[in-house]
Symmetry: C2
């Protein structure tokens, strides 16, 4: 795994906390690697929007509640578009893939155990696999790239969404609806199902953020 992926993972998992300054030397120590590849990784992470540049050096980006709202809304816009395009451009193979990944999602759901963190991770991974398969079905590399730019919210937030079996079951049902619409080449229905699906996630996260008192005011970092 290269420096970029390692640092990215550490940010997403919260190993580096929001606002934390990342000096090149510090990263060199952490990864036992020299500054050259670190610097390249930093440029990429900057372009991803995962880190912000200070007057001197960079820090892990912090997000406000308003950021979270805007990012989810853009995900809805883009994934909704991807879903409608998928309905038009999907092949039989794509359908199979979508059904297979959603089946795997359901299976992980069945063995999910609140006490076992790994089972949650599996659920989240299978969900991601489904979304990736759907986006790939759109046959649009550019929308895929854009969506990757708005999936930068540290996983921690995303997982607020996955805090209830009820929510997970609803996601499974939403995936079923999406597959059905895509099979029927009903682009508008696919889009609306995706919008609803993502707004569900957004609202769960925003509710959680407000409730936990972690942040609250729009302008404050979380």
């Amino acid at each position: 795994m290269d420096a970029y992926k390692i640092i990215r993972k550490k940010i997403l998992l919260g190993d580096f906390s929001q606002g934390q300054r990342l000096t090149e030397e510090y990263l060199c120590e952490q990864l036992s690697i020299s500054r050259t590849p670190i610097r390249e990784a930093i440029r990429r992470l900057e372009s991803d929007g995962l880190i912000m540049s200070l007057k001197r050096g960079v820090a892990v980006r912090s997000f406000t509640k308003e950021d979270v709202r805007q990012i989810y809304d853009l995900r809805a816009l883009l994934e909704g578009y991807a879903a409608s395009q998928a309905a038009h451009n999907r092949s039989e193979k794509d359908i199979n893939k979508l059904q297979a990944t959603n089946h795997a999602f359901a299976e992980q759901l069945a063995v999910y155990d609140e006490e076992n963190k790994e089972t949650l991770e599996s659920v989240v991974n299978e969900n991601r696999a489904f979304h990736e398969a759907l986006i790939a079905s759109s046959k649009n590399a550019h929308v895929q790239m854009l969506i990757s730019k708005v999936t930068v919210l540290p996983l921690v937030y995303g997982q607020f969404h996955w805090n209830s079996v009820v929510g997970m079951e609803r996601s499974k049902a939403a995936h079923d609806t999406l597959i059905s619409a895509i099979m029927k080449k009903d682009g508008e229905r696919a889009r609306s199902a995706m919008l609803e699906h993502i707004y569900q996630g957004r609202d769960a996260v925003l509710t959680h953020l407000t409730k936990d008192g972690k942040i609250i005011e729009g302008a404050e970092p979380i």
Copy 2:
């Protein structure tokens, strides 16, 4: 100007042609600079989608006609969204700015002279300024970032759009419509005006590409 900006400009202006391989050493010579900053610039350009990585090294990205279509469609989606958000979030200051930039656009249009390339450049610049002001009015930094990712089509293509005074006048009118809708906080109208405006540009470019025999088939690079 740093290495990133210089290389980016050279790609957009066509100084480096599509598909051309860019070795680090070659870029070092061109910019009279060492490999370290060159490598960082390459990583950023890669993330921008302006260059593609080969088995070994990178090359200037080439776009197919289908790429052009997809990119314009995504611009329409995102700028349409930005326009509707601008209608809701704009301040009085934003309105003034929009009117000022569109006024400047009209002025450049008035002195435009087919024989003088610089006047065309001025028109294009003022148009960009208007779009930037509009996006800024949306008060959404994330949509701004995403739009910057889909403005990677070498300027050469974009300028196909600016090949007739008629098209330019239509753009001016579209900007007026946009300002009017944004002033009235009519988000849906702003979105639809923006969609139409961008599809006009897309169609002009696609028609040109087909006519010039530069490419034609969807899968071939332009």
